[in-house]
Symmetry: C2
Subunit: 428 residues, 2 copies
Amino acid sequence: MKQTSTKDVKFTTVFQKLANRLPVSDDTVSETALTILREVRKEGDRAVIRYTKKWDRLDITPATMRVSEKEIQAAYRDVPSDVVKSLRYAANRILAFHRRQKVSGWTILKDGVNLSQRVHPIERVGLYVPGGKAAYPSSVLMNAIPAKVAGCKEICICTPAQEGIINPATLVAADIVGISEIYRIGGVQAIGALAYGTKTIRPVYKIVGPGNQYVAAAKRLVFGQVDIDMIAGPSELVIVADENATPSYLASDLLSQAEHDEEAVVVLITPSETLVKNLLPEMKRQQENLPRKKIIAASLKKHGLIIITYDLAEAVGLANEIAPEHLSLFVKNPRRYLKQIVNASSVFLGEDTPQSLGDYIAGPNHVLPTGGTARFFSPLSVDDFIRKSSVTEYSRAALKKSGHHLIRIAEMEGLTAHANMVKIRVGS
Amino acid sequence: MKQTSTKDVKFTTVFQKLANRLPVSDDTVSETALTILREVRKEGDRAVIRYTKKWDRLDITPATMRVSEKEIQAAYRDVPSDVVKSLRYAANRILAFHRRQKVSGWTILKDGVNLSQRVHPIERVGLYVPGGKAAYPSSVLMNAIPAKVAGCKEICICTPAQEGIINPATLVAADIVGISEIYRIGGVQAIGALAYGTKTIRPVYKIVGPGNQYVAAAKRLVFGQVDIDMIAGPSELVIVADENATPSYLASDLLSQAEHDEEAVVVLITPSETLVKNLLPEMKRQQENLPRKKIIAASLKKHGLIIITYDLAEAVGLANEIAPEHLSLFVKNPRRYLKQIVNASSVFLGEDTPQSLGDYIAGPNHVLPTGGTARFFSPLSVDDFIRKSSVTEYSRAALKKSGHHLIRIAEMEGLTAHANMVKIRVGS
């Protein structure tokens, strides 16, 4: 891990780079995605099948694209029953948190005017579940449960099956949340199929779920045609620690974050040089025993950073400016600093709250804004699967009383016919 | 207006075209937008100034890009005081409706686990206000008020000033809602300036407001870098009417919608052929006296459609399938049909509720999803200007009690270091 201090002359440069890591779209990736999307739009299943063969080395037909009910049930044979039990435990925790997010419509009735806001679920949504280096059944729970709570009638999953294999735990997780419409396709071709529809896959109204840069580019390109959740980037963890932090815990959290992939961002901010001195050998020791130690080493080298600050207040301020996906506070009385933190998407308080709780079982969603986008995006939630509408009803008397205001504004805007709508009913 | 009936053999074709009018992105427009965005990203103010000269025939400098406080105050001289009064009336109505949308954070505390959802305003947002054929001060109110209610600290406006002129009522509307940071720029260059920032304009975190197809394409392209509201398309009104509808009222509403621009979509759905017979001469009569009659004629010819249905239930069903921006119910007991309507963005009940109430003074937002996107987008609201975050805190005992579930799922996903975070604290 690189080290810097806020006293360094070069600190501002280093920090600016970190704070301004907002994803600027890669034009080459976008162009590739656009080509595939165009082919899926034009050729439907044929293009999906062609790209699935090309990228996933998998031969499918319209008949085998969808995972059969039998395959889903067979998956239970390959997942230990205590893992199934733990997935069910996680699902129930996630359900409890997301149920609290549900909102209802309301009405304001005053002076002959009746105004309502109504809430409707999005009727059909598609979940993208990455395959790739690791399989993530937890992703299925996190994406599907808010949609279920929102009341979406149809939820389907697309997940790439490199060389035909879908992790059985992914299928079990889908079954736990009640999804049976699963397609063994991924990448840009899956996003295209969900957005435009093919003969086999009916189009959805919203696509959610993380993916690689091609999936992200494709989602951005189909936005407007359908809704999407957010543009996912590499995972990030910032830890603010004071001198009381336990080096072994701290080390385990930093290593865990680096384990995701080589692009994972891991930052420690602390005023305590002693802590850093004790931390480094502990990290080295723990790292040796981890199966993914090569990925960890690469990630820490590329994006690992330790910042030594003047004091704790400065550390908290910097963490907020970074606007990270995950922020852990390894400090005494962590709640005291919460007010200053408005830009982190998911905050973990105290040493007894390892960040992986948020990945799996705590309840809040693990689909979170990255790359500084916590400044304007939210964790995936029930809100992402509803839409609202308005209802307006005026009495004749109410229209008569306020119509002149409308007439004045409409005429000033040059929209005479808009003014006429009122004039013809209640005079000017 | 074209006429069809659900009994026609060709009806399904006509209707499918209407129901599937979802905007497929125009690649040529996107390519133009991408070129301008790249130049703004690279050259900043220089590119903004160049394109403002090219498209708006306006010479600006970094010093004159921003509208001065003096100009804003001077605008009051050019707006009749009763129009100012009506804009204030509208602002207060919009404020009252949007205040009801505000949500608060919450906490679930159970068994040593403390989970919160927090709510934060987006700190800096940009509003795009179209200039062009007509000026829309009402747009300023509709975009700015939800942002103000959400608590956004900084709100700026970009609006094109063809040949230097910004409608004084637009400036007055901005002043009424308390916005003083206004730039006389529009088009793709304004979206680029807001997204990437220039020397003169600091970047925003979210861009909202309608615009032409270039503005829409640019917004889609910068999405991810910043958040955007939605992709706006031509305005739409569907009216469902029964035999009790008053032809003159109905005519005024259809004409008003057609007045927007030539791409405006105007659809009447009714089981009553008598109503249609009485409506057509009334439309002709009213149309003659309207200043924008040429636009109206073009719009009605291009996108005007009357559908004769078997009965009222069928009419309501079709209206819902169209998923229009605006839906008016000119029927007896309109509330009876509301339950069936889940896809219209803004619904107007009864003849005494002309749709223009929603454009100006009723209170609900007039920035609404079009093109069938009401199936997944919502009216602009306070929700668009907030973001949420989660907070998780476990006690040591709670971690000890549930940690084994986390360990099992993490190990099954191959993320050993994630499991270690718990093991190192509470054992396996």
